[in-house]
Structure formats: C-alpha cells, structure tokens
C-alpha cells in the first residue's frame, strides 16, 4: 500500500465493546499508529476522511439507514473488515430474529417510545449479508491481539489467519478436563477457536462467541446429546445466543 494505509472505524448496532478493546491496546496503540494512519474513529478521535484503505466495521445491521450507510462506506473503502461477533453474524442482537413478532420485541425494549422513527428496525443482519466483507474478526468481544495480527497481515499484504478449528484443541492444549465429563453442555466441538479456551479453562462451558468453524458437524452433536442425555433444545438455545448458524437438525 506504499505509505501508511488510511484506516477508519465505524459502529452499527452493538455495545461498542470491540472498539473499546482497540482503545485498550495501551502502548500498542502507538505501534498501531506507526503502522496505519487512523483517519476516523468516533470513540477516540474527531475527524473525517473521504475514503479509506481499510474500514473496520463493528455492529450488526438492523435499520434501513444502516444499510445505506454501510453501502456508502463500502464504496469509499478498498478493504472492509467486519470485527466483533455482531458485525460477523449479527451477534447477540440476532436473538430477536427468533421471536415471533418484532413489534413485541420493540415494545419490550423501548416501552412507550417504541414507535420513534429511529427505532424502526428489521431483523438483524451480519455485515456480509448487506455488503462484501473482505475479512472477519470474530468474538464477543474481539481479542485485541488477533485484531493486531489482522492489521499486520493486511499491512504486509498477506491474508489474515483466523483459526478454523474447534475450541476442543485449545482445551486439550491446556489439559482441561472435558466439560461434558463434568455434566455440562459445551459448544467446544463446533465453536471456532482462537480464544485460548478461556471459558472452559475457568469451568464455564463454551457458548461459541466466535461463531462456529467453517464446516461444523452439527449432526454429530446428536451423538453427544444422546450420550449425555441432553435435549436438542438445550443445545439450540446455546447456539442461538451469538446468532451463530447452523441449526442443530432435529
């Protein structure tokens, strides 16, 4: 890219926690600014730019004006990276898509104000359901070191490397006892690794906050369900939490 790439950060429907992870890079923020030229980042600086080498998108797409805005950003960006699980799959926001009536969802969340025009939302979409996404950085929230590795890879002209193997690998590396053996439902065998199995290592079953691997074997989940006396609903509820496909077949 010759001179330092111009980088911008944008947020859509989300808690902005993933941007906060970047703001939390501490001393690495300086290293980052040596590598790229941050031209837009509402959470930490003022300023605008007409076009970008890399646009980082946080959050899911839930409104018509969001769609128009993301399309406009896409047109002005050479590369577009969706970061954080909301941007990648819709994230927790996608839970509402499982409800029968979006109208009821709005009333429940916004009370009397539910009819305000800026709250006119449609079913949640990941960014790549609206525009072309060049790279995804999964996670709720993202891992800041993984974010840095993606920025470095792009700056060096390489494709970023995001793990495409399940969390079980990272549990084995940490020599954790399998949580299924402790009677807990864990999505580890389907979930995309890269977190260092931080939850299972602390006794908390995996919720697949980084989504699933490219080709999760959801049918094999049946074998486990039977073996450990779990219901399909129990697994499906967990899978739904971060808007992750696929559905467990009944």
């Amino acid at each position: 890219m010759g001179s330092k790439p111009k980088v911008a950060f944008f947020d859509f429907a989300c808690c902005e926690g993933c941007q906060l992870q970047i703001a939390n890079l501490e001393e690495d923020v300086i290293g980052l600014t040596n590598l790229v030229d941050v031209v837009e980042f509402r959470e930490i600086l003022t300023g605008k730019a007409p076009e970008y080498d890399i646009a980082f998108i946080e959050g899911s797409i839930t409104r018509k004006e969001d769609e128009e805005r993301i399309k406009d950003i896409r047109e002005r960006s050479k590369l577009l990276v969706a970061f954080g699980q909301c941007a990648v799959s819709g994230g927790i926001n996608r839970l509402k898509n499982n409800r029968e009536s979006l109208e009821d969802v709005k009333k429940e969340v916004y009370g009397d104000s539910y009819n305000m025009p800026h709250l006119d939302t449609f079913p949640t979409k990941g960014v790549d359901e609206v525009v072309k996404v060049d790279f995804h950085i999964p996670g709720c929230p993202i891992d800041k070191n993984e974010f840095l590795s993606v920025v470095k890879a792009i700056a060096l002209g390489k494709a970023p490397s995001i793990p495409n193997y399940p969390v079980c690998i990272e549990c084995k590396l940490r020599e954790n006892e399998c949580l299924f053996d402790l009677d807990q439902v864990c999505l580890g065998p389907l979930a995309r690794a890269g977190c260092g199995a931080v939850c299972p290592s602390n006794g908390v079953p995996c919720d697949a906050c980084r989504g699933t691997v490219d080709n999760p074997n959801q049918n094999a989940m049946h074998e486990i369900l039977e073996k450990y006396n779990y219901t399909i609903d129990e697994i499906q509820r967990k899978i739904n939490l971060f808007g992750v496909k696929p559905e467990v077949k009944k």
Binding site: L32, K152, S161, Y165, I169, K172, N176, L190, N217
Partner: protein
C-alpha cells in the same frame, strides 16, 4: 542391566534433593482436577505416580505446542538466528507406552536432516520410566508395544511393596541416581515380572499387529471410514493428545514495528479440516472420512511400512478425549471385523 531398589520414602527424598540442586528441571506426574498431567515439580509432595494416564503425553517437553525456532529482521537474510531453549530436564514416571512413543518421535526427528530443536531437548533429558500401577479402561498398549521403551529409557521403575525396583538402563541413568539411597535389589526376577504385568489391559487390537498394514490396504474402500467420518467433529483432539503425532505448522510473526520477526512452529494435525489445504485452496483431504482413514493409515500402514513398527502405542488417549467416541484404533478395527466386506477383510 543393573537392578537396584529404593524405598518409596527414600525415592521422594532423592527427588527433593534433585529439585534443590537445580541441575535439571524435575518433571513428574501431578493431579489436575480428577485427571493427571506432566508438570514441573517444586517438591515431591505433588508427585502422583499412581496414575492411569496423563492428558497430554510427555512429547510437549520435546516438541512444545508453540515453539520459537528463530528470530529475524524482515528483509535481512543475514539476521536469522536460531533460538533453542533446551535446559536439562528429568521426566519421572513415564509409562512404557509413552517411552515407546518417544522412541518413534526420535526416529522421525533424527532421520535425514536432524531437527536440532527437538533433538537437543532430547539429548538434555533424562527419562525415568515406570510400569503402570493403575488400570485405564481405554489402554491397549500390551497388544501393540514391543520392546521400544528400553531403547530410550534411562531408568525403568517397577512399583513393589513400599519400594521401587529400578532398572538402570543407561549410563545417563546411572549418573542421575548417584547420591540417592539406591541399594541392592532383593526381589526375584519373577516377582519383578509379576509386578510389571500386574495391571491388565481390557482392550486389545482384535487382529495381530503385523497383519494390520495389509489389512488396511485391502480395506481402503471399507464403509468404516465414511461411517466414522460422519460422526467426526474434525476437532483434532485425537491427534493432539497422541504421543506419536508430531505434525506441525510453521509461521512467521512480525512485531508491530515490522522490524522484528520470529518464526514459530505450532502443533497441527491431519484431522483438522485445513491441514491438507495447499496453495490455491485445494484440499487433498476435504472429506472427514478421508481424514479419518488417513490418520488410521498413518498409524497402521504408513509408519509400519517405513519403520517396521506399529505407529500407535495403545495409550487410549484418543478414545478417551474423543467427544464423538469414534477415535480409538481398537474401535475402528473392531467395526471393520464386525462388518467384513464380502465375508472377509484380509
């Protein structure tokens, strides 16, 4: 081979002395939750030699899961400097099947271009073996391991009544026990042999190990690969915990300033979906069944044909750690025997 004995208490005091001397790191088996792992010892208190199996085999000390190979400055070919952390270590309580596996690893890493990162760690290590004292329901080592353990062990211990009988296998082992209260053995060879064979395996490979390469060759099209492949999560647990699996990936990591780089190698495994992906995205083993067959072929056909030993030591870790309950070679071959094609497999 010299045979000595030492009381359990004296052995623990001996280890504490070794730990205090700090001539080498002393590593042993310790309890973690309800299972066991190899870990560096701070004192002999935590040592748990009465164990069934460890989560990971001791290979993690010779081929660490993430290992720094060299440092460099990007764009400067003169700047490449190998880094090898190979401080001396003694690993205490390795079961005979894991020793057999280390023998196989040694072959792989010393053949042709010697892999210095692995071999220097091996050169600087002392292996203290132990005959298992505890039953493990997935173990079938007796049906596959022959005498390889003694090719790498420096000492072999057999638990007797309140004592360890210690077989001094190498000069290195002899040097290591100097200063401990190791005395003349008073047990008969028959008593020692009985103690070695006290713990039985419930499982065994249903056909003779020597026949397996041919057997697998003739069953390339057996439905077992697809049937078991369908159930596989491609989670790679089976190959990660395997003491004879050594595949790795090599990556360069560059610091944010883009002026410092390091080359690392990390464990990889043939059961992972992207393992056989090459340039342009082609995957040589795209289907789960292909990967499943490859892993079993690797243990039961390719390695035996190259080295004349079965590439699996029967530790049972793969079966134990497989969420889908399909990984164990005993299970695979039993299925093939129960579902013979055209009436016979071989």
């Amino acid at each position: 081979m010299e045979i000595l004995k030492i009381s359990e208490n004296d052995f623990m005091s001996f280890l504490d002395k070794k730990i205090d001397e700090k001539a080498e790191k002393v590593i042993g088996v310790v309890k973690k939750g309800s299972h066991f792992v190899f870990n560096e010892l701070e004192s002999s208190d935590k040592l748990a030699l009465d164990y069934d199996v460890t989560m990971l085999p001791p290979k993690k000390y010779f081929q660490p899961p993430k290992e720094l190979l060299l440092k460099y400055k990007p764009g400067n070919p003169e700047s490449y400097r190998a880094v090898n952390n190979c401080d001396p270590m003694a690993i205490v309580g390795i079961h005979y099947y894991d020793l057999a596996a280390i023998y196989m690893m040694d072959r792989a890493f010393s053949e042709g271009e010697r892999d210095e990162h692995y071999m220097k760690k091996r050169d600087n290590s002392i292996l203290v073996g132990l005959y298992p004292t505890k039953y493990f329901k997935y173990r079938f080592a007796k049906s596959v391991v022959r005498d390889q353990a003694y090719k790498v062990a420096d000492l072999m211990m057999v638990k007797m009544n309140g004592d360890y009988v210690v077989e001094v296998v190498s000069e290195k082992g002899k040097d290591f026990i100097k200063g401990g209260n190791f005395i003349e053995n008073t047990y008969t060879l028959q008593e020692i042999d009985d103690a070695k064979n006290k713990v039985k395996d419930d499982q065994k490979i249903p056909i003779s190990v020597e026949l397996i390469p041919d057997y697998l060759g003739k069953n390339h099209g057996h439905p077992v690969w697809e049937v078991f492949g369908e159930k596989c999560f491609s989670c790679g647990s089976c190959v990660l915990v395997c003491p004879t699996c050594y595949c790795f990936d090599v990556r360069d990591e560059v610091e944010l300033n883009l002026e410092e780089g390091k080359r690392i190698r990390i464990w990889d495994g043939c059961m992972l979906e992207d393992f056989a992906v090459c340039a342009d995205g082609h995957n040589f083993r795209k289907e789960k069944g292909q990967r499943f067959r490859h892993r079993i072929y690797r243990k039961g056909k390719h390695l035996p044909e190259k080295y004349h030993y079965f590439g699996c030591v029967g530790c049972g870790r793969c079966q134990y750690s497989c969420a889908a309950d399909i990984a164990g070679p005993v299970k695979v071959i039993k299925y093939m025997e129960d579902n013979k094609q055209g009436g016979q497999n071989v």
